[in-house]
Symmetry: D2
Subunit: 358 residues, 4 copies
Amino acid sequence: MNTIGKIFTFTGFGESHGAAIGGVIDGMPAGVKIDLDRVQRELDRRRPGQSAITTARKESDTVEILSGLFEGVTTGCPIGFIIRNENQHSSDYGQLREAFRPSHADYTYTTKYGLRDHRGGGRSSARETATRVVAGAFARQALEQMGIIIMAYTSQVGAIAIGKPYSDLDLSLTESNAVRCPDQAKAAEMEALIMKVKSEGDTIGGIVSCVISGVPAGVGDPVFGRLGARLSEAMMSINASKGFEYGMGFEGVGLRGSEVMDPFTLDDDGNIGVSANHSGGIQGGISNGADIYFRVAFKPVATLMQDIMTVDCHGREVLLKARGRHDPCVVPRAVPIVEAMAAIVILDAVLLNRAARL
Amino acid sequence: MNTIGKIFTFTGFGESHGAAIGGVIDGMPAGVKIDLDRVQRELDRRRPGQSAITTARKESDTVEILSGLFEGVTTGCPIGFIIRNENQHSSDYGQLREAFRPSHADYTYTTKYGLRDHRGGGRSSARETATRVVAGAFARQALEQMGIIIMAYTSQVGAIAIGKPYSDLDLSLTESNAVRCPDQAKAAEMEALIMKVKSEGDTIGGIVSCVISGVPAGVGDPVFGRLGARLSEAMMSINASKGFEYGMGFEGVGLRGSEVMDPFTLDDDGNIGVSANHSGGIQGGISNGADIYFRVAFKPVATLMQDIMTVDCHGREVLLKARGRHDPCVVPRAVPIVEAMAAIVILDAVLLNRAARL
Amino acid sequence: MNTIGKIFTFTGFGESHGAAIGGVIDGMPAGVKIDLDRVQRELDRRRPGQSAITTARKESDTVEILSGLFEGVTTGCPIGFIIRNENQHSSDYGQLREAFRPSHADYTYTTKYGLRDHRGGGRSSARETATRVVAGAFARQALEQMGIIIMAYTSQVGAIAIGKPYSDLDLSLTESNAVRCPDQAKAAEMEALIMKVKSEGDTIGGIVSCVISGVPAGVGDPVFGRLGARLSEAMMSINASKGFEYGMGFEGVGLRGSEVMDPFTLDDDGNIGVSANHSGGIQGGISNGADIYFRVAFKPVATLMQDIMTVDCHGREVLLKARGRHDPCVVPRAVPIVEAMAAIVILDAVLLNRAARL
Amino acid sequence: MNTIGKIFTFTGFGESHGAAIGGVIDGMPAGVKIDLDRVQRELDRRRPGQSAITTARKESDTVEILSGLFEGVTTGCPIGFIIRNENQHSSDYGQLREAFRPSHADYTYTTKYGLRDHRGGGRSSARETATRVVAGAFARQALEQMGIIIMAYTSQVGAIAIGKPYSDLDLSLTESNAVRCPDQAKAAEMEALIMKVKSEGDTIGGIVSCVISGVPAGVGDPVFGRLGARLSEAMMSINASKGFEYGMGFEGVGLRGSEVMDPFTLDDDGNIGVSANHSGGIQGGISNGADIYFRVAFKPVATLMQDIMTVDCHGREVLLKARGRHDPCVVPRAVPIVEAMAAIVILDAVLLNRAARL
């Protein structure tokens, strides 16, 4: 299952060590003006090798759009695209050919498919997320033309958390540091922690927070198409994610109903709003016009720069030598992926909503 | 969107104040022996009015199976069923006809559909979850015949948490108390808290934990069909859920990769296992044969026994009088719903997995 | 797979000899005023026992709507409904329990599912089409409120064909005779033929033609969502259908491109139309504003009032005694089913089309 | 909607005048050995410019596989591929920019999307069918490894029909002539007719017949997943198709039930077969083990080498000058497309069938 979405859909393909990765964006409404430089800039935000705290692996990750655009505008036809793979050290996979790395997908893929492309993890490699960023970049531009803005940021690395709601932050600062944290002081702490962890050959987890503003009330579906459920599915489909919460989230379980009520308000023109937003902008699965906000937990990934004992496909114990070039913390590069997946979900929901009434 | 699943699917219908709720279970494999008493018992676990800590509203919630069974065995045909609604106090909805209850779906439904059945919340009412329990009860029986067991329990109410991993608990005790907590001492504390909250006309949140054992390695799909993503979507589609995490979850963000590795082990027969399970039984989106476990956060619901100021559909401020009969804590009755949704997801994934290889 | 449609969907259930048949209509736009008497009247058109040329079996086929309507208007919630089965002669199935009737689904179902409910054919019985008629009756009322009208009629029985295009017929006469043929003289011939075939214990095939007017230009999708493809799938899912054609259909293969061109025209207001309609209202998979018309071939069904040699599930030859009460020609009762399936397809396509542009 | 299939799916993209066409094959079972030369050979069968009776336009149509294969075997990962467009005469589209060609998709696309890429018809161009042939070539190789063989051929061009059932033909001769007709004498007549029609600047229609052997009994689903319905949808999604029939098809409407019965037979080992095959290998939507056969009608396409009056997007009448290089008869090149679409449908159904029983 490499497709997500109902009427605005994205179907991806590609492994880290094949010729290219890419995908098809389908159901893109016609008439959206697309800035291809912005698409590439989103990819650049996800690209490996962009700063000292990410993997040293370098790929230019240049997207080539193959269809669906005419004179800079979407035509309603599917948008096919590819990103060529460049950086393939495929010469030396000796150990990885047979050994199962702990907490990786080597064993589960082999069990499922009966065979495995050992060069880089196949579809379990985070490389495929580059294609999601492309799809998300198209969705975002459509959404922005409807007044919907999506902004994610790093809110926690290890035990270092911003500790403030998004409304107390200046999210325009997110891109001002390598860790993508809008709180500059915390960003410095996080960056220092990541460098320390990296120097130890270890990894660390963190949290990405995301805010979506401008979604009109009425988007999302009851029961199985709830906005929270669809966002959750999309976020939990990102590599290394282990948890999702929106609105008050897990913190809310310790509170009373009387504390978390979001009272309705009326402005002078009689427009309905809310004076609090514990609901996270979603009530009964449907947007209420307030900001939608959610958080995604990312684990410390299991690729260490340390030798490790494990087993291989012949049922033998083997010592796996430290190797590879990986991110000590995936969170900074996950920020654009979270935004992309959010854009894909929201555009689909906005389009579906057009069928709600006669 | 009232359908969930890809090849094993459930499609539900029904509002709390119509003639009946019900649904269609499709893609049920033929040849599954069904114990209908067990289906009804699952429904009884979700039923309102079952104990002092749940709503006083009473419904017998008797399921009538209309198709798809022959001589006690599934035939491969879709299973249609209904549950008649009995307890409809439809006489007096005066205020609810026009007022929007805060943190409910009244406003979002009206905005989406342009009109609203004010009698009980329509599809946003938790009543529809009874139909999910029926579908889940069928899926569970199929799964059990494959050796897959699903067990959920209340692990936290308000600030009272079990504080132990599931492996230190005797899950057979879950049904021994009204709160569905296998730790009897904690259960008593939780129950007391719920009674206190109830006496104050307030509500409280909590957490349901769930363990799935016996899923063979290889179930689930890479990328958009990851088991974690599909479970997350299913859980976040349950009313009042605000968060989902599996394996190490949010707690993992503060840890190092070296701390959360799940080393592979070999038993005497050369079978591969893991000696730790931070992954929660899922690696690269695919089961690894270890227990799958996850947690779902439920908010304190917004239906209080207190008068409250709000607005109505004419843009007027109104005082909403306390009324209704609702659960002070939805968590105990959410336990069978979590199990049902897990069963629906896992059976679908198990069946899909049969197409993984030539 | 008992669901059809993408955003307006119908999911059916039920066998001829269970408690009830029924289904769930999902994605119905809110705000459609529904005349339930018309829903029942559509069912009555499909009902067995309605005239001398149909089966003698009698069922009242009364639909009970269980959800999704409030004060006579659709709410956007799914519409669940059931039709109780009444006429179950389940006492005597002795031979059918084991014998495979030729050209029926007894053998294929048994092979697929490993078992079979021998009482009446399970889902292969045409009884389930009653539920499609209900779903179609809802879709039709939505479509009519958009100005889209669907009219089917019997255009051929055996070798007796109307032999005129629909534009030369008065389709308001379709219901004036039992055979549902708007050409009264031909209708009489067809009826006589059916009675003759019936008296011989035999069956005969025929063709249903269908015209859809009022579909605006622009509905339908390129490539896999072509209107012709979706209508074809829907029609070929009706029991006993063996062929589908639209526009010039099979007849067009013998013609030249220069003969079948549909020239565009301009009216005084500059509106574009066509002066011929070989395309059948669909070009490149998308409606062009002209009438959509198509034809569906139905075979003579294999249920004869004659003894017949066949085999049973033990691999023995057996003589199957003539029995049952079946239609000598399914075409007259297929007319409302064709209309219903067309309505389901067209409403879905119309709603999907709302997402075509920014 | 550019995706077809349920668990084995194909998603295509690309216009005739963009950089490339291509697609993603998903749900391909792991472990299928793929002969890439055969994939290319299938493409060559569809390629323009292959003989005197096809368009003079020449494209090498070389497929580049980008993912999903490892050491010549499918890995279970999605297979992405592209085919670069070479032959783009994009200099001169003056008239086509604004004029609507009769019986083409120019007008319907413009109405639907509000704009149109006038260079070659966008997705309505038959060029996209090349990507289906690639997907079908993968599906075929999987099917062949299960013993399932698909063979299509030209059975009629204009009024020249083979007039024999497929069982009286030697289908290995299909590729021996340019028209792809296994009856050599008829092939010569057909070829002469096509050349004559071409010389007149006109076009002609025809019929492709297809036979699928080796499908075991039990494949396909009741009701909406009937094999006949799914094949029909797939065939009617091919450009220029106007009709579909299987088994006795339209001819059956004139027959009696007693004439078209397919009696079951028993061989010496007690295996069940049929001694006639009016059903076309499908009963109740499910394969019965006999050959599946069907026919697809293709219209004479509307691209003539003649000047023609039409209208443009400004509501003006214009004279459209003859131009372009098109096939006088699409049928010979449709043969590999029909086979490809059949392979996609059948592989999906075979894989789905694995979930039919516990």
